[in-house]
């Protein structure tokens, strides 16, 4: 009997070892609706591409699972003067080709972000010079005080100088000259925990786990990754349910119940750090798309307030977002640095008050206006506009919805086309996860020279808010800074600069075989994928 028992335990132990051995080859297969633009780490400053590449490349700083800035290839940094930051680099970091990471690579990568094809010039341009103190120390000189530089640079990925120069990738890939593009589009040599094995753009990218990554505490037990872009939502969902893929995103919110009713898969819903809002033309003397002539009703704060009180955010949440959105009163999400819940209460739903305000402003019968809306950019974007239009109808404002694919929508409403819109729906995630990005891009007055207010399509403009935006950029004392933020947010709210709607939901489809970390900026970090 005891022998029998012993044998059984041996068999069990053996099978466990065998099981562990088998489990070691964990291939993660996942799909997104599109592909990363290229593997060039400085080619496009866009969340999916950069998030995708964060598995292969790393910056001096990094973002953890809650999008908080943590040390990356630099172990620490210190502000030694208002315009100087000294970074201590991590020792023993190797690129995938075996080269060591050092100060020369930092300087090279920074210069590369300023090359013609780079889309990281804004972040690169925060820095005017980098001095090498020794192999593992660099002194960064910034363009004025830039306390946000370390966190912004989580998105500036470090490349190997030797590898890049050997392979004709010394500058960022460029759309005009073929000769300047080479290797970096479809090949990568980073310091990250995953290496690119092969890639065909829009078809397939294969990764394998890097053997000598500096961080041994990564929880993932994934050994290989196969990524395929799958454009059609129905095809993505089908491939997840049939077990061909382990993770797909995004999943249409309409498919959630379907996924949850299937065995082996579930919908993973979280709040994205993306705020959806309506903007209003507040700078033209006459609206481009309205029946009111000779004046602009949206310049009157009473009209804007009337619109704010006409929107029933709870209905939008319940009927359109299947309960999965977070109605908001602020232009930033809770994950964004500078968020203060005290200011996040939405305008109350009060159509009675709206009608009164409209009458006071001289529009007792309302007016007509057209809202521009994308129909393939945000979660249920067109439906939100239609719902808003029907809510406006209740207070007498006849809102026409012009919904178009994002390529056409953005071509119409953005700066290049002179902000050709009277009202619009837009969504925004600050890349830096800091309130300053939102203030600078969406809320500060349009100023092309200073490069602020570029996405303030309706040009809401308040001098004090501009002043506060500049103060927030350089203030290092957290309490003082928050006071500035609160003041700015209160002004925007009082003046109804925008009509915030909600933070939209993230929507991933995940197989029960794995656990993942759903980051609020929708980046998929393989470091947190664990096969059960």
């Amino acid at each position: 009997m005891t022998i029998m028992k012993k044998m059984l335990t041996t068999v069990a132990a053996a099978s466990m070892i065998l099981g562990a051995g088998l489990a070691e080859a964990n291939t993660l297969k996942f799909a997104f609706q599109g592909d990363a633009q290229s593997l060039d780490p400085h080619g496009l400053n866009e969340t999916f591409t950069l998030g995708f590449l964060s598995n292969v490349y790393e910056g001096l700083t990094m973002l953890d699972e809650n999008i908080k800035v943590i040390p990356g290839l630099a172990t620490s940094w210190e502000v030694t003067s208002p315009t100087t930051i000294v970074f201590k680099l991590r020792e023993g970091v190797k690129f995938h080709n075996g080269n060591s990471f050092n100060a020369d690579d930092v300087i090279f990568s920074w210069k590369r972000t300023l090359s013609e094809g780079s889309d990281q010039k804004v972040r690169g341009g925060m820095v005017v010079d980098i001095k090498k103190i020794d192999d593992l120390t660099v002194e960064v000189h910034t363009d004025g005080p830039q306390p946000l530089m370390p966190s912004e640079w989580a998105w500036i990925y470090m490349m190997d100088k030797e590898w890049s120069e050997e392979n004709g990738a010394g500058s960022a890939a460029n759309v005009k000259e073929e000769s300047a593009n080479g290797y970096s589009l479809n090949h990568a040599n980073g310091t990250g925990p995953f290496e690119v094995v092969s890639r065909q753009p829009d078809v397939k990218t294969v990764f394998k786990r890097s053997e000598n990554h500096w961080n041994e505490n990564i929880i993932s037990n994934v050994t290989d990754v196969i990524f395929t872009p799958v454009k059609q939502a129905a095809t993505r969902t089908a491939a997840l349910i049939s077990g061909e893929l382990d993770m797909v995103y995004p999943i249409p919110v309409q498919d959630w119940s379907r996924l949850d009713s299937e065995d082996g898969v579930s919908a993973l819903k979280g709040a994205e750090a993306r705020t959806i809002f309506l903007g209003m033309d507040q700078f033209r003397d006459e609206l481009l798309y309205s029946n009111v002539k000779g004046k602009n009703p949206l310049k009157d704060v009473r009209v804007r307030l009337a619109m704010a009180h006409a929107l029933d955010l709870e209905v939008i949440k319940k009927k359109i977002m299947r309960g999965a959105a977070t109605p908001t009163g602020l232009m930033i999400a809770p994950q964004v640095n500078g968020f203060n819940p005290e200011y996040n209460t939405p305008y109350t739903y009060d159509p009675e008050l709206s009608r009164k305000l409209l009458a006071e402003a001289g529009y007792p019968d309302g007016f007509e206006i057209t809202i521009d809306c994308p129909n393939n950019r945000y979660v249920n974007d067109e439906k939100i506009c239609i719902a808003a239009a029907s809510m406006m109808a209740k207070i007498g404002i006849k809102m026409k919805v012009l919904a178009q694919p994002k390529a056409k929508y953005f071509a119409k409403v953005l700066a290049q086309n002179n902000y050709d819109t009277s009202m619009y729906l837009l969504g925004w995630t600050p890349g830096s996860m800091d309130v300053h990005n939102v203030l600078g891009s969406l809320i500060a007055c349009q100023n092309a020279e200073k490069n602020v207010g570029l996405f303030n399509l309706g040009n809401y403009c308040n001098a004090r808010v501009d002043e506060l935006t500049d103060l927030i950029q350089v203030e290092t004392d957290a309490d003082k800074r928050q006071a500035y933020v609160d003041e700015a947010m209160q002004i925007v709210k009082d003046e109804v600069g925008y009509l915030p709607i909600h933070q939209q939901p993230l929507s991933w489809g995940v197989s029960d075989k794995i656990t993942v970390n759903q980051r609020a900026d929708n980046a998929f970090d393989f470091r947190y994928v664990v096969f059960k």
């Binding site: 799958v230 129905a234 095809t235 089908a238 049939s242 056409k408 071509a411 290049q416």
Partner: protein
């Protein structure tokens, strides 16, 4: 004959030129390419500089002239999105589309013709009636719906076949083929059948109608009267004469199969040229769109030109007409 050829070639050239012109004029309305090429934090100055570098600020005639100049020597520039030559992208993707289209064409011919013959000979049979009913589905349901139904049935419920992609491919020189691996063949089945269905039902109905007509002609009656065997009459005499118009149609339909492939490729995430084109529209990748449209129109023009020339050989009157006009 020579002047006829010259005339036809000139006409084809004019067709291509006008396709290029119309396509190019349409690109103005697709959207702003710059916005898809840069991130949200990129400055206005940068965006403007990029537009300038790409020549997007040039007047329309200059842009068009530059495009034609490049296209004439097969140079469509770099893809805005992928930053590699468009010709290279198309060469990479062509094998996937060609394999899919050719397999579907073969399927539709080798299943469509026998079904047509069968339904013509056994008009009242139960099987014939079922074929006819099912063919209605093939004709009337849109391709994307059939594709999704197939995915649902064979991919999700039965789990026999993969729901998307091309499986493992083998690279032979410049050609990537999915026909040499088991997963490649399995992946091909659903998209090929989806794409073939419409052509198959079309060919079946065409063959049936032609065959029914031929079967009532005098020489078939005489053949029967001579006491020839039924099979010899049906296949030796009737089918042969049926096939002449059918072959012409099949030839012309081949171009259409490639065009239809766009939808099938999107539903099954088949990495072919159609997928490339759809992606290009979404991202306003003008060079890729232009090259694809030009390529498809070259294919259509070439097929028509070949047909015209063949007719000219068959029917000498065409040559005389063309010849007399020129002198």
């Amino acid at each position: 004959m020579f002047s006829f050829l010259i005339k036809r070639l000139l006409q084809s050239f004019m067709v291509l030129l006008s396709v290029a012109f119309i396509a190019f004029a349409l690109f103005k309305f697709v959207g702003d390419p710059i916005n898809n090429m840069v991130g949200q934090d990129t400055t206005l100055v940068e965006r403007e500089a990029l537009a300038e570098r790409l020549g997007l600020n040039d007047p329309f005639p200059i842009q068009f002239f530059n495009f034609i100049k490049g296209a004439a020597v097969g140079d469509f520039g770099l893809s805005y999105r992928h930053k590699v030559p468009v010709s290279q992208l198309i060469a990479e993707r062509a094998p996937a589309t060609l394999e899919l289209s050719i397999i579907s064409a073969l399927l539709s011919v080798f299943i469509g013709i026998p079904m047509g013959v069968y339904t013509a000979i056994r008009r009242k049979g139960f099987l014939s009636r079922s074929f006819m009913t099912v063919s209605l589905v093939g004709i009337s349901l849109p391709t994307f719906l059939i594709g999704i139904l197939f995915i649902f049935l064979f991919g999700v419920i039965l789990r026999w076949l993969p729901t998307f992609g091309r499986g493992e491919v083998v690279q032979i020189g410049f050609w990537s083929t999915g026909l040499l691996t088991w997963s490649g063949i399995k992946s091909l089945i659903l998209p090929a059948v989806t794409l073939a269905l419409f052509q198959m039902t079309l060919i079946m109905r065409l063959v049936r109608t032609e065959m029914l007509e031929v079967l009532t002609t005098d020489y078939i009656k005489f053949a029967r009267a001579r006491g020839l065997k039924e099979n010899a009459v049906n296949f030796g005499h009737a089918l042969k004469n049926t096939l002449i118009p059918v072959i012409t149609i099949i030839g012309l339909q081949l171009g259409l199969v490639m065009a239809f492939a766009i939808i099938t490729e999107t539903v099954f995430q088949w990495p072919g040229m159609g997928m490339l084109f759809i992606q290009a529209i979404e991202e306003v990748d003008v060079p890729v769109m232009a090259a694809y449209l030009m390529m498809i129109s070259v294919v259509f023009v070439a097929i028509n030109l070949a047909v015209d020339i063949l007719y000219a050989f068959v029917d000498p009157r065409l040559t005389i007409d063309g010849g007399s006009k020129h002198g």
